[in-house]
């Protein structure tokens, strides 16, 4: 039997619209020092942290292989360092694999991003498209999400009013998350009146621009129990990558998420996901994605997103009590912050948004235009 891997500690900076006074190295260092203080760990091949996994986006950082510019603040000097440029939850998977292989016992995962640095987030995600066919027509992740939202909303009975409810709730919850600063609460009327970006997406439906860093310590079971009395076990992870061209996909079908979830559930030994989770943290970059991803995860009946919101589903299913992506985390870190928030819940450290006695949680991450690549992680405590 492969050895279990536990999350031993979680740290994050505040998530702010514009950390103008900090370099990305400074944000990462803040998280590293917090993690070392919480665990008492040092970097060493003999019982200490044996590997650093960073998460960063070269174009947001404006550096090629930007992790090479921060090995010192990753504790990676003369050590092993690996970068995840895919969505951040994938770093949890890398760490799981490294520990399960037996090569290392303790791994640092540390992601950062300053979305305030480039002139616009859309200009950066535009670069994800190919230069001959899809860049010339102006695609970026917002426009791609508009296409997906249009296709999904009709199929799931999700309207402007539902989307406003999702945003209002996220902003309310964000006030209870001490790591979210400077994000005003909004009314449904304000959401409904906010300008359209890419129909049916409105400005307030989009995850706010944010800067910050997040980190986790992962360890093999026996080491995890030495480091903390409340390890959070990674019970199963699943991924799925869909086609690159939007026209090759059925944008409303949730196909890749259903695959990723099925893989994660099978690996975690979950037969009936509907009632399996005390907490769900999903990456809702745009409001329509909260009901849509819930359908894809099999936690809401397919096509039932609108009815689920009407019935108070998000509260009942304890979805994104942290505020979720709609409270503002950078694109590349969405899933990693979800895992961090889920781990805080299972450790009983979620503060004002703690679910009493939470035992099992789901964390979800997504990257690429219109949800091309999904990662689902199932986390549990003893």
């Amino acid at each position: 039997m492969a050895r279990r891997v536990g999350i031993c500690a979680v740290a994050q900076t505040t998530w702010e619209r514009d950390k103008w006074s900090q370099r990305f190295q400074g944000m990462a260092l803040e998280v590293l020092e917090d993690l070392l203080a919480r665990t008492g760990l040092t970097f060493s091949e003999d019982g200490g942290i044996g590997m650093s996994i960073s998460v960063s986006d070269d174009i947001f950082d404006a550096r090629t292989i930007s992790d090479n510019a921060m090995t010192d603040v990753l504790g990676a000097h003369m050590g092993c360092e690996e970068k995840v440029a895919q969505e951040g939850l994938q770093a949890l998977y890398y760490g799981l694999a490294a520990i399960r292989s037996g090569h290392v016992d303790v791994v640092l995962v540390l992601g950062h991003c300053k979305e305030s640095q480039p002139a616009s987030r859309n200009q950066v995600t535009h670069m994800a498209f190919d230069p001959f066919y899809t860049r010339p027509v102006g695609l970026d992740f917002t426009a791609a999400a508009g296409l997906q939202a249009q296709a999904y909303a009709a199929r799931a009975g999700v309207g402007d009013r539902h989307l406003a409810q999702v945003v209002v709730r996220a902003r309310q919850l964000a006030t209870r998350n001490l790591k979210i600063t400077g994000l005003p609460v909004v009314t449904a009327a304000e959401v409904l009146a906010s300008p359209l970006l890419a129909d049916p997406l409105r400005e307030l439906h989009a995850y706010p621009v944010s800067d910050g860093a997040v980190g986790l310590i992962l360890a093999a079971e026996e080491r995890a129990r030495e480091i903390t009395d409340r390890p959070v076990w990674i019970a199963g992870v699943g991924n799925c990558m869909d086609s690159f061209f939007l026209g090759d996909r059925d944008l409303a079908s949730n196909f890749p998420l259903r695959q990723a979830a099925a893989r994660a559930y099978r690996r975690a030994g979950i037969d009936h996901p509907q009632n399996a989770f005390d907490v769900v943290e999903l990456s809702d970059q745009y409001a329509y994605q909260q009901p849509m991803w819930m359908e894809g995860l099999g936690l809401v009946p397919a096509g039932g997103g609108g009815a689920w919101i009407d019935a108070g589903g998000p509260e009942a299913a304890r979805v994104n009590l942290s505020g979720g992506m709609l409270a503002g985390n950078p694109l590349i870190l969405g899933g990693l912050v979800r895992a961090a928030e889920a781990a805080l819940q299972l450790r009983g450290e979620a503060g004002d948004h703690q679910v009493p006695g939470a035992r099992r949680a789901l964390a979800h991450g997504v990257m690429g235009p219109a949800g091309q690549f999904h990662t689902v992680a199932v986390l549990e405590r003893d």
Binding site: H126, F132, L147, F244, G247
Partner: protein
């Protein structure tokens, strides 16, 4: 001197990430673009494995891993709007004018819709199911913009009507 982290020491500097590239369209991409440029014909490829006609064409079917070289079929120039959004923000990378209608257009004879812009009509009047046809650029271009845009096949009323999406 002591280290005293101080906001007065912090400032920001305007800069740029700028890199010159030479992108290569490849054999299949070049053939597709030249047919658009020189013959005003739209080509796709047909996978023998899954019988799917893919546009834009590519070398390999990502479902079957089949080699798609020299499986050319002609598609369009007319097609059907399968889905669309109206991009209402201006930015460096967004072609003018905005609002810009980006649509997934399934060309006649193709299975995979192509993302392109719609013109020649009121953005508020776009509907799923609308029949459209390619309008080729007057001057040769080295990208999909050899097709400048798609326009409705039939004359469209200019007044805005109810939107197709819920709520």
């Amino acid at each position: 001197m002591e280290l005293t982290p101080d906001l007065r020491d912090c400032f920001t500097v305007p800069g740029k990430l700028a890199l010159p590239y030479t992108y290569f369209a490849g054999r299949i991409g070049s053939r597709f673009l030249l047919a658009l440029q020189e013959e005003h014909r739209i080509l796709g490829v047909r996978c023998a494995g899954c019988a799917t006609v893919l546009v834009p064409p590519r070398a390999t079917c990502d479902r079957c891993q089949a080699d798609l070289a020299d499986t050319w079929v002609e598609v369009g120039p007319a097609g059907r709007v399968e889905n669309f959004t109206v991009v209402r923000y201006a930015d460096r990378h967004v072609p003018e004018p905005v609002p810009l209608v980006l649509a997934l257009i399934r060309l006649d004879g193709a299975d995979t819709p192509l993302v392109h812009r719609l013109g020649g009509m009121d953005p508020e009047a776009v509907r799923v199911g609308l029949r459209v046809t390619a309008v080729f650029a007057a001057e040769p271009r080295d990208t999909l913009l050899c097709i400048d845009h798609f326009r409705p096949l039939a004359p469209q009323p200019s007044a805005a009507g109810p939107r197709p999406q819920g709520g």
